[in-house]
Amino acid sequence: MKRKLLKQISNEWRSNLWLAVELLIISSVLWYIMDYVGVFSTLSAESMGLDTDHVYQMSIKSKPEDSPTYEPYTEEDGYWAQYERVVNRLRERPDIEWVASGSNAVYNYNFSGTWANPVDALPDSASLNTERNNRFWVSADYPKVFNMHGINGETPEQLASLLEEGKIIVTSNVAGGSMTPRDLLNLRVTLGNDSSTVYTIGAVVEPIKRAVFEPAWHTTMLIPTNNQNNVYFRVKPEADRDFVRRLLEESGTSLNYGNMYVADVYSFDTMRENLHHDDYAQVRNMYVCMGFLLLTVFLGILGTFWFRTQQRAKELAIRITAGATRRQLFARLIGEGLLLLVIVTPLALGLDWLIMYYNFNASTQYWGPDALPLQLKAAAIVFGCMSVMIIGGILFPALRAMKIEPAVVLGGE
């Protein structure tokens, strides 16, 4: 059967060549797109390291001296005292669970780097991976706001107590060389060039990413402190409807105090959307392009096989009179299209390999040789999609061919 089909394909080599070239180009372009989309899906599925559902960021600012409502600070009612008042007012709201302040969180590319020097001896051939270490200055309630858990099962409350004790929390990717994340626990370190302050690592948490579409390239350290410019808070899920509007409407009367005012409130969902606006558009364009190419395969196959079944009506009629069932005719036509795809696929894989070799595709750029499983998966998906389109395209002409009446078609012979 296969040999006969091959013979038939070679007999009609001219129109099949067009189809083969089309399938080849589309296979490789689709693979490139699937690879790109695959990288984005893999990164989207990775945890951000912080749970940002129902979490908001508030920006509290102070009025400048030339503001008409500015009032000079007093000793009892100074800058930080007024700031603390606003935060406490937020804390007192019944619809808010936890409030914390911090220098940074997720969904921004801010980076405040430092490195860690171990004070205690490390296990043999072990090292700390803190070359790209992002420093978060946070208040004790930060783990509660972001619902953080330690790798040893520490609850957000336990992590908060550790920060309260002055201990630091690090992400598991700080463990370098032959270390395990557990080896980091209770390790004493100094940060950067400052050897005067020794910190103890109180807990280890999962890596924290800066953005959805960026791998956890950085390590992170949570260092306890008090007031920071950004205020983060978690809203009770049942109260999290139209929350920003309600809060802003009430801010003038219930939150602002002295020279301190609420400049803006963002949900982390909004921050994610804003940060990835262009990335989402890019992925969307890729999907549109993929849809177009698949539709093109469908139309090309449909058009070609529509003609082919018309041209080969007599041949198909003879097959029926020679005993072929209509089901066999149907399978033959579908097989012809799929065989063409099978012939083209090794060539397409060769093209894909060239794309990888020259480092043009996203997964190789991100993960190098480790991306092979993703690339194979992308190739398999492309083969599947193309097969579906080919079957879809041949379906109508094949169904028409099944209805051929040999007596009518061969009447003139």
């Binding site: 067009w18 503001s67 008409p68 802003l248 969307r284 364009n285 392009c289 041209q311």
Partner: protein, 423 residues
């Protein structure tokens, strides 16, 4: 032409499936190509307020290197350096200095604050960009020189703060500082990425004229230059070059050197400058060409394959034509014209899809880096004869690609063989 039109209609009537497949294939190809063209055009085509895009240049970033100390710093400029390098250039009509666009909290007394895009610039801004004033007027040189706290705001901001677009004379608080509204302008699309803002004021009103990043040269300022015409770009650049050389000889005593990355940049270049320490990057252009090629070649192969099959059915007709003295050129011309009619009809359909999609789904296809607002694509960008011309050109290329080889092959058929059914 009439003959070819009749032939196309006959084919459509007798082979409706193929007619529809060809039409949809062509329409889709033209639709996608035109969307890509539109995505590109919004960055360079002139439209209000950036109506002078063809004669604007942008002076952005400086990069100072010192090989001896291994220092390599790059950023925007101080106001002083911006004016020194780019003010009163030979061949320039006007120049405006502006600060980086920032989001600042804006409110009316007693209303909650929201973050709004604020452009801090000078009075020349209004000479370069073409805003439509609903009420009031722009701030002027006196306002700029006197650091007056005045602002022009967009209609949507006026409506959200005061409930109507009549806001002249009202006071808004920008970062809690009071600004008197002197004008209200129609909202502009964020696609005019350089001029877009919701509040326009002077950087002097914020006391930022001396702003710097800890040096005499680096600061938050850029500039936009309006050339007398695109022909004076070379004169402007030559003048900038001589000023850079003079600057270099001044800072060069300790080994420092201003690296030239080609600033000032044209409208099409400025979009491809990725960082403060590099020049225009044309890799996006190569990618775009590749996308055009794929979007043209793939449907062309498809259509070509169908054209060939269609011609195969008409081989005896072509044989008759040849037997009656038709030239090969005539046969090729006829087939290409027939195909062009189909391509044109499909292309028109694709263009209509493109307009509808571009207008109603503008947020899906257009983005303006750094600005998160509705894109509101201006109609004049969609309804433009250049766009029709581009679509027609792509139809023509697609037609040649898809019918050229089949037409050439059909014209070479031996009439005897064609008529005996052996071709």
């Amino acid at each position: 032409m009439k003959k070819q039109l009749r032939q196309v209609l006959y084919d459509m009537k007798h082979q409706p499936v193929i007619g529809i497949v060809t039409m949809i294939g062509t329409a889709l190809a033209i639709f996608l190509i035109m969307v890509v063209v539109m995505m590109n055009r919004v960055t360079t085509a002139p439209f209000a307020p950036e109506t002078n895009r063809d004669r604007t240049l942008y002076g952005k970033f400086i990069n100072i290197k010192n090989d001896a100390t291994k220092d390599n710093s790059s950023a925007g400029m101080t106001e002083k350096l911006t004016r020194r390098l780019y003010e009163n250039l030979d061949g320039a009509e006007c120049m405006s200095v502006f600060n980086r666009r920032e989001q600042k909290d804006v409110m009316a007394q007693g209303k909650p604050a929201t973050l709004r895009y604020v452009n801090m610039t000078d009075h020349n801004f209004w000479r370069i960009y073409d805003f439509d004033f609903i009420e009031g007027k722009p701030f002027d040189e006196n306002d700029f020189e006197s650091s007056a706290k005045v602002a022009v705001i967009s209609r949507s901001l006026a409506e959200s703060l005061f409930g109507s677009d009549e806001a002249v004379g009202q006071t808004i608080l920008v970062e809690q500082k009071p600004f008197r509204v002197v004008g209200v302008v129609k909202d502009v699309s964020p696609l005019s990425a350089e001029a877009y803002a919701e509040v326009f004021t002077t950087y002097r009103a914020f006391g930022q004229e001396g702003a710097n990043w800890g040096s005499d040269y680096f600061g938050p300022f850029y500039c936009v230059i309006l050339a007398e015409s695109p022909d004076t770009f070379d004169r402007i650049r030559a003048d900038v070059q001589s000023r850079k050389q003079a600057f270099n000889s001044e800072i060069g005593e300790d080994g420092s050197c201003l690296v030239d990355h080609g600033s000032p940049f044209t409208q099409s270049e400025v979009y491809t400058v990725r960082g403060s320490n590099g020049g225009p990057d044309n890799s996006g252009e190569i990618l775009r060409m590749f996308i055009y090629a794929i979007l043209l070649i793939v449907p062309a192969i498809n259509l070509s394959s169908m054209t060939q099959s269609r011609l195969f059915r008409r081989i005896s007709e072509i044989g008759v034509k040849r037997a009656f003295g038709s030239t090969r050129g005539g046969i090729v011309g006829g087939i290409i014209t027939e195909n062009f009619i189909v391509t044109l009809a499909g292309g028109l359909l694709g263009l209509i899809f493109c307009f509808v999609f571009g207008y109603f789904f503008s947020n899906m296809i257009f983005t303006s880096t750094g600005i998160v607002r509705d894109m509101d694509v201006p109609l004049q960008l969609l309804l433009d004869w250049k766009l029709y011309g581009t679509a027609l050109l792509f139809c023509f290329i697609l037609n040649l690609l898809s019918s050229g080889i089949p037409a050439w092959r059909a014209s070479r058929v031996d009439p005897v063989k064609a008529l005996s059914g052996r071709a």
